[in-house]
């Protein structure tokens, strides 16, 4: 438990992704079984402990600490687990701290009636770091800035495995993952992907750099839909939906998962929300669903999801991934005919005869939910990862707007001495500048130095790490779309904004208006 607690401590202040990967990898390589497997499960949301309610923790503390001092401390610290970890009276030093395995077993075995005694008994045996980790585990929210995917990448990198290989077998394994560690350390065979509905690593596309050099006859064309990539799997009576990073997201999309057939299959496609006109709604509609781990009936009714399928990876227990795309597509079209059309439809092929038609299709797609073209070699097998030369994506040209820099914030890690996060605005109807987005990339290292210098020389106010600057610098911002925003006073927020150019040649009053940018949203 203390090692796991020390890991959480260092993760919470580790500045960069690379440092987090190293910390997790080191922990997994040097901690004995079964604690390391349980740590991996905790980081990947795989522990599934019966959650202890924060109210129980509060009641335990108030029985030991003056409630007024507890309230003042909680107000000051903010985080309940941290407050409790610091306030809990030190236990008898003769007690041995529990291992992570002991703590997990005790929490698993706790009933509603026994939970108070179990939790307080564990807290009495731990130091402040250990108590913090225990409360986080027990209340089911680690939030240490390291997601499930990051932990799997750390595992793969530390043991010299391909992430895709790990992800393929991942969902067939249970904590503490001893078979997985045995395989990683060369002590055992690679675990089978599992009988149940297991994940198959996604095939990804490269951005198309030279469309004119493409052999059109060898490729098929599809629209690139503006949803999220998803894999729907049915096998052995189990049905699951996986996200692009290999996380099981079935619980968030019960409407789609319930519509999967009993017959085994694995579909690759785009998860979209159906609008009232039957066509895909904008990305912000899907965003509401993505934000909720367990949607209520109203959200299910108002934002129903469906899968626009474009590949078939397995059918009837047969792995189809090594077949050429053309053969998989033919079987996909056959399978789709038997699925409920409100939940599953087929991503149509786009007929393109020549390079002129290709450019035309990209420039003028028929629907707002299309963000470009996908180009797939007709003979391509389905291979994990981003393999050059098989699949290409060719996104629409980005939208651009001229915005005015409003605030700059210092970055993190290597950028911690640079003002590198920029909030920018456009002119509102009353002639004031209203924020429309925030960008922290798109510029070169040279441009970053220039921007950092400009921010320091034009600061008008400071708020902690944030500086407000003179409203004098115009930035050309490239973005993928415009979404409604309740957080911005302008009422809109740009999607994927990045700094395309610094427009020192343009005065601030010639920057765009909020109304002009909002109009770009409608094709």
């Amino acid at each position: 438990m203390q090692r796991f607690a020390a890991l959480l401590d260092s993760l919470s202040t580790a500045p960069a992704r690379s440092a987090k990967l190293r910390l997790i990898g080191e922990h997994l390589a040097t901690t004995p079984d079964p604690d390391r497997g349980l740590a991996l499960a905790a980081l990947t949301d795989g522990l599934a402990l019966p959650a202890v309610k924060p109210a129980l923790i509060r009641a335990l503390v108030e029985a030991r600490v003056d409630p007024v001092l507890f309230r003042l401390s909680h107000d000051y610290v903010g985080d309940l687990a941290e407050t409790v970890s610091l306030l809990w009276p030190a236990g008898d030093p003769g007690h041995h701290p529990p291992t992570l395995a002991e703590a997990v077993a005790a929490l698993r075995g706790a009933t509603r009636a026994s939970a108070p005694a179990v939790v307080s008994g564990l807290l009495d045996r731990l130091d402040p770091s250990g108590r913090f980790a225990l409360v986080k585990l027990a209340t089911g929210a680690l939030r240490v800035g390291a997601g499930a995917r990051l932990a799997r990448v750390a595992f793969a990198e530390r043991f010299g495995l391909e992430v895709a290989e790990v992800e393929e077998v991942w969902h067939g394994q249970e904590p503490p993952y001893q078979a997985l560690f045995a395989w990683a350390e060369g002590r055992g065979p690679r675990p089978a992907p599992g009988e149940g509905a297991s994940f198959r690593p996604f095939m990804l596309a490269h951005p198309l750099e030279a469309p004119e050099a493409l052999d059109l006859a060898a490729h098929a064309f599809e629209w690139k839909w503006d949803g999220i990539r998803a894999q729907a799997v049915s096998a052995g009576g189990a049905r699951r939906l996986f996200s692009r990073d290999g996380n099981d997201i079935s619980a968030a999309f019960p409407d789609l998962v319930a519509a999967l057939p009993d017959a085994p299959l694995a579909l690759d496609g785009e998860l979209l929300v159906r609008g009232s006109d039957g066509a895909p709604a904008g990305f912000h509609a899907l965003q509401q669903r993505l934000n909720r781990k367990a949607p209520d009936a109203r959200l299910l009714r108002e934002a129903p999801v469906f899968l626009r399928a474009y590949d078939l990876l397995a059918e009837g227990g047969e792995d189809l991934r090594l077949l050429p795309w053309e053969a998989r597509r033919a079987r996909l079209e056959r399978v789709m005919a038997a699925l409920p059309p409100d939940r599953f439809d087929l991503s149509p092929l786009v007929a393109i005869a020549d390079h002129g038609a290709l450019a035309e299709a990209r420039a003028r797609p028929p629907h707002a939910s299309i963000e470009g073209l996908m180009l797939k070699r007709r003979d391509s097998p389905y291979v994990a990862g981003r393999v050059t030369g098989l699949w290409w994506k060719w996104k629409k040209a980005p939208l651009t707007a001229d915005c005015v820099l409003l605030y700059a914030q210092r970055g993190h890690g290597k950028r911690s001495s640079f003002y590198s996060d920029f909030t920018f605005g456009a002119w509102g109807p009353d002639g004031t500048l209203l924020p429309v987005g925030k960008a922290y990339f798109g510029f070169t290292d040279e441009e970053l130095k220039w921007l950092d210098r400009w921010v320091r020389d034009h600061t008008v106010a400071r708020f902690g790490p944030v500086r407000e600057v003179e409203k004098a610098l115009v930035l050309e911002v490239a973005f993928e779309g415009v979404a409604p925003s309740a957080r911005h006073k302008s009422g809109i927020a740009l999607r994927f904004p990045r700094i395309a150019r610094i427009r020192t040649d343009k005065p601030a009053h010639e920057a765009d208006t909020v109304a002009a940018i909002a109009a770009l949203a409608r094709p």
């Binding site: 919470s12 600490v65 985080d79 941290e82 610091l86 902690g464």
Partner: protein, 333 residues
Amino acid sequence: MRAPDWIEISPAGLRLRAADAWIDPARPVARALITHGHSDHARAGHGEAWATPETLAIMAARGQAPAVPHPLRHGERADFEGVAVSLHPAGHILGSAQIRLEGPDGTVIVVTGDYKREADPTCAPFEPVPCDILVTEATFALPVFRHPDPEGEIARLLAARAANPDRALLVGAYALGKAQRLVALLRAAGHEAPIYLHGAMERLMALYAAYGVPLGSLRPVSGAPREELSGAILLAPPSALADRWSRRLPDPLVAMASGWMRIRARARQRGAELPLIVSDHADWDALTATIAELSPREVWVTHGRDDALVHWCETRQIRARALHLVGRDDEAD
């Protein structure tokens, strides 16, 4: 609860009425009694000021010298129109003092200023002074603040250094008090290598050394070759941690030494990869133990988390009030 009539309490500070002398005033005054050299207690522009010789030297080194300095040694008494004033060690930083006031009515008031009870090789240890009214600080007056042993925190710093021989260990610390204490703690832990200083640290380091605090080999960061800084410990004021100054350093591992590092969010705000909990203030246990030990009739709380400490006093049947003084900088530890 009424204050003796020879002392006045206002948001600007405590004042001895007859002598018109202020204690740690937030603005320039004709006559000031100063507990210690931190700038939120020792401001520039006073006419006459009474303080320990060390505190007056610190004020002079920082350009805050009064027009007429009156050095007062620990234990020495001075008369302020019928109020007997003496200074007693507070254990906070070099020269830091508590101010004992004995009025014509015999009432004794002790103003702790900032203080701590932990041993500190850079200054004289806190002296418990019996009193009727204790005027205490409350910077860390919440039971979440229990400072660990500083030796353990120094061991963590040295372990991080051993594990990262190619990186510069950049430690943020306040230039007056904390920085010198860190150096002394590192030396006591057997770290003999040169310690590198941000330019803002140099003058006060020299002043501490002149007062006989052994600090070992100290060198400026500026001008040091990059390879010399790999694996070295560097001290800089907290404001320099995320500033352009740090860009020249080899892959710095940023640490921050402060009592505030107990709180994770504070460590993240500072961008500290290695938070070190080293404080020059009394923690919750020391604040409450000191009140219990002195058992004053009343407790007045000057600055910090006054509500929690006043509440604690009330549960112990000790009369307590918050003074709500202005101008104290809570963050500096």
